[in-house]
Symmetry: D2
Subunit: 137 residues, 4 copies
Amino acid sequence: MSKVFSIPIRIYYEDTDAGNVVYYANYLKFMERARTEWLRALGLELDEIARREGVIFAVRYARVDFIKPARFNDLLQATVELIKRGHASMTFAQRIQRESLTLCEGEVKVACLDTATLAPRAIPNHLVTHLDPGAST
Amino acid sequence: MSKVFSIPIRIYYEDTDAGNVVYYANYLKFMERARTEWLRALGLELDEIARREGVIFAVRYARVDFIKPARFNDLLQATVELIKRGHASMTFAQRIQRESLTLCEGEVKVACLDTATLAPRAIPNHLVTHLDPGAST
Amino acid sequence: MSKVFSIPIRIYYEDTDAGNVVYYANYLKFMERARTEWLRALGLELDEIARREGVIFAVRYARVDFIKPARFNDLLQATVELIKRGHASMTFAQRIQRESLTLCEGEVKVACLDTATLAPRAIPNHLVTHLDPGAST
Amino acid sequence: MSKVFSIPIRIYYEDTDAGNVVYYANYLKFMERARTEWLRALGLELDEIARREGVIFAVRYARVDFIKPARFNDLLQATVELIKRGHASMTFAQRIQRESLTLCEGEVKVACLDTATLAPRAIPNHLVTHLDPGAST
């Protein structure tokens, strides 16, 4: 009964660099796609949340170990697991794999912010019900 | 007495792809940087224009010939020349060169839009004074 | 009996800009993803082609009309249709749609190049069999 | 007598996202530009190093705190300081500032790799002479 959520990521030319590998900053994009799709799988759409609840989520901290390179045309998996839900933030463990090989792994902390002021805001109750790890599987 | 404006562009890893050349869509970014700096050189800052005049500029049409590749660490020139100023649009001839060699050249049409509605708007008079080719050199 | 091939494109934050719409140069990335998946659907993998045949494909020309903006979280369709197959090039009609609404449409010409020299090369016979419009549906 | 090296970074539309701020992964690009220009200021060009010495540098680890947002048209400073030079790696403290305000700060570890095999390699002596903190100011 795993709480790890995963999506496929196909590597296109746009993702690579002249070192003939995936440009390292792009793994952060893949991790974000995984977080977005994880929320969608929980029934939460970020554009609706912004409109209805007046909050957006912004990355406050990221730590990534780049272990092995990915290459053009690779089919990867981007995984996400909520490891801590705070009052106004969420922390995720994330990994990019090619089959069973981990290419990079990291931790990303996302803050809940007011759309207008960009000041921290408590995660709305309506979301908490969906996000609470105890309820998310 | 040329009306062609030019800025230097240094190529970093972020700009390249696994073909060991600059990723073609990135030339459009370099062309936009040239347009932005050309406006700045005319005394026009796009963020101030958005706040004060309530208009933004959006690309409506682009045509680019990709002639020769650029590579990592190249120092290029991105040029811009206003070739037509319409009521609510501007059309630019643009070129990316490495020294005297043209790497790509194209044409970009930019529309003036209302910030809120994204509907077309006449270019504000205050800008026209700066933009009119007769006055821009 | 349509020859138009299409893939879904989900819009993430990485694709948008401060105008609150998709950054225009990114549509070229979506069009390339569609071309790559069209080839894959024909049984052609670009990394294998580079290794076995010693050729890569590079964009030589692109023309795009940006008609309506896409926004964060939109689910789009990117379509591709081979409209001309030359000796050493292919020309595609491409479109980005949100449901039945066309957001942008354009034409992209791709050249077949030698991997090592980047000089033009005839499209290998093995590929032509797959690519010929008469055989591609 | 500071060992901190700094370059200006202008924010263009390409750097922003629909949150109306700079897309967080792009700060990693700005940090890389600063490292590349720091090397250039020391007389080291990465393309020449790849050709002559057969080594490239790849990011192995990055940690970034995103503190305050940057916006379209901001003029930032990206700073870099070599804080540890290992046998086959370098670790940098990096910061992005708008005037005296720190927008993000982090640490980036870069490994020296063989161009062909991507296996770790000792930093060539010729580079060490330039890189040694004792000699770098």
